[in-house]
């Protein structure tokens, strides 16, 4: 029989991590080892996760391709499918198809500084790249991560943030929105764009990767421009509604671009070519 594009792999939920209110990370393993053997992906790609009988939802693969044998996804419980996913227990079977989309050109970045800027639930797509880079740390110069969330509670991957904070080869700056701090908060207080401006990372030989809610992205780009980042050196991902993931269902178009095929990773230079429909 020919391959059915829409047929998901069966995945077993191996571990569920509670990240923040409404946010969970699933560690998934392939039920059939043969599927695992032929599966490979790169940083930046996404998949369609499904609860049988409920539907499919699109999010990135949050674990780096350098860690083999499993994939992880992090999602916030908001819609029909993420609510159903949230109700799944360890050991449950869910569906996954992918990987889809383009990749962060991490190999092209070798020898450069990396600046990661993320807000809220947008750290997961970036986590894949961060770990990918850290797993081949010797290839890059300075690695800076600026991560902000609304409140301290909303910061995801709290354990990993601690790891990164302790690492000598990573500069981590965390921030929360004013009013979102807890009494023992020792990070920054302020919106991500403001913090970026304050930290003022050098644009020399640096690639900036920005992920976050549209409003954060909108105000961060001008700051980066002021710091001297060229549009070609700023990367982000677009999150449009998708159904198929492979350029057929017609939902994710931004102008002539299919976010699912030509994206989700775009440079700011590419974004500027696109109509404002994302």
């Amino acid at each position: 029989m020919m391959d059915n594009l829409y047929m998901p792999y069966l995945m077993r939920i191996e571990r569920i991590t509670y990240e923040a209110p409404g946010v969970k990370t699933f560690m998934l393993r392939f039920v059939n080892e043969a599927d695992q053997a032929k599966f490979s992906y790169k940083a930046g790609q996404f998949g369609e996760y499904s609860v049988y009988g409920v539907g499919e939802s699109t999010f990135c693969i949050a674990s780096p391709p350098t860690r083999k044998g499993y994939i992880e996804c992090t999602f916030r419980q908001t819609g029909k499918v993420t609510n159903a996913l949230s109700g799944c227990e360890e050991g449950s079977i869910i569906g996954f198809r992918g990987p889809y989309g383009n990749i962060f050109p991490i190999d092209e970045w070798k020898g450069k500084n990396l600046l990661f800027i993320a807000g809220g639930i947008a750290l997961p797509p970036m986590r894949c790249v961060i770990w990918n880079a850290l797993d081949m740390r010797e290839n890059f110069k300075d690695v800076t991560i600026i991560y902000g969330a609304r409140t301290v509670k909303d910061l995801v991957y709290k354990d990993e943030l601690k790891d990164w904070e302790l690492r000598k080869d990573v500069k981590l700056i965390t921030t929360v929105d004013p009013g979102g701090e807890s009494p023992d908060w020792h990070g920054e207080i302020g919106f991500v764009p403001t913090v970026v401006e304050k930290i003022a990372p050098s644009s020399k030989d640096t690639i900036a990767i920005v992920c976050g809610p549209p409003v954060m992205i909108k105000y961060t780009f001008p700051v980066l421009a002021k710091l001297g980042f060229a549009d070609e050196n700023i990367y982000t991902t677009l999150e449009n509604r998708m159904k198929c993931g492979f350029g057929k269902c017609g939902r994710c178009n931004v102008g002539r671009v299919y976010v699912c095929k030509d994206g989700p990773v775009f440079t700011l230079a590419q974004l500027k070519e696109l109509p404002d429909e994302y």
């Binding site: 539907g55 819609g79 029909k80 609510n83």
Partner: protein
């Protein structure tokens, strides 16, 4: 409609309204909605027996409403829709001026919606002979025959929702059929999804439908879905008394009488 053109020009010129909604000649001997925002466009306004689209569907459309105060060339069904919409707080005297067109095709301008209501109440909502005959035919069928009739009739429905889009009363920002938590109605078009969608539509229009047939006229597949709403209107009339849309009226399905009669509750 010389009067209408003249009046539309005055209204636009004096900035009394921002847009006049009326009819113009369309393609293939059809007519269609015209939105007059400049006086010179008013000359395109027409009115004749082909003008059956219910323009009241536009007064709740965001892109039209956002233009500012509207005037609308309103036939009897359109006026009825407007009264119903006003009673549901969708339009009011501040955002809508009614340029009535009487059944004799005379222009009649109303100061306010109360006048429109008074005018509308002179006419009973009547079901035309053809539809009456269809309803009688259905009434005389056995239950199994009716079931078969509807399953067959609704089978071609591909859920384009033209019926919903054309209906002035279907202005909800998020329709029940678009809800997915819970998923009340299956999204795909199949027997069950189609049946449930049309039952839901009919129920939600009970006591609100003013029988303009916009749904049927919009249906690209000529499915007689207006029979459902007609039947509900007739039954509501029978059970709860004569129905006319009214500005301060109680809505049939959101009210009750302690002595409502039924014969099936044990």
């Amino acid at each position: 409609m010389v009067d209408l053109i003249k009046r539309a020009k005055e209204l636009i010129e004096s900035s009394a309204v921002k847009v006049v909604i009326g009819y113009e000649n369309g393609t293939g001997n059809r007519t269609r909605a015209l939105f007059v925002e400049k006086t010179e466009d008013a000359d395109k306004l027409i009115f004749d027996s082909r003008c059956i689209q219910n323009l009241a569907a536009y007064v709740t459309k965001r892109e039209v409403k956002d233009k500012g105060k509207m005037a609308i060339a309103a036939t009897l069904p359109v006026m009825r829709s407007i009264i119903q919409l006003a009673s549901e707080f969708q339009v009011n005297d501040n955002n809508l001026l009614v340029l009535g067109i009487t059944p004799e095709s005379k222009l009649i301008e109303f100061e306010n919606l109360v006048e429109v209501e008074t005018f509308v109440h002179q006419y009973q909502i009547e079901i035309d002979a053809r539809n009456k005959e269809m309803l009688d035919r259905l009434d005389n069928m056995t239950k199994a025959e009716r079931w078969k009739f509807w399953i067959d009739e609704l089978a071609p429905c591909f859920k384009c929702y033209a019926c919903r889009a054309a209906c002035p009363m279907c202005y909800c920002h998020r329709c029940t059929v678009d809800f997915n938590q819970p998923q009340w109605i299956p999204v795909p078009s199949h027997e069950l999804g189609n049946l449930e969608w049309h039952i839901m539509r009919a129920i939600h229009l009970t006591g609100r439908c003013i029988d303009c047939d916009a749904c049927y006229n919009a249906c690209p597949l000529y499915i007689p879905i207006n029979l459902l709403t007609k039947k509900m209107m007739l039954d509501a009339r029978e059970h709860f008394g004569g129905y006319q849309p009214a500005l301060k009226g109680e809505h049939l399905m959101s009210t009750y009488k302690p002595d409502d009669k039924e014969n099936f509750i044990q």
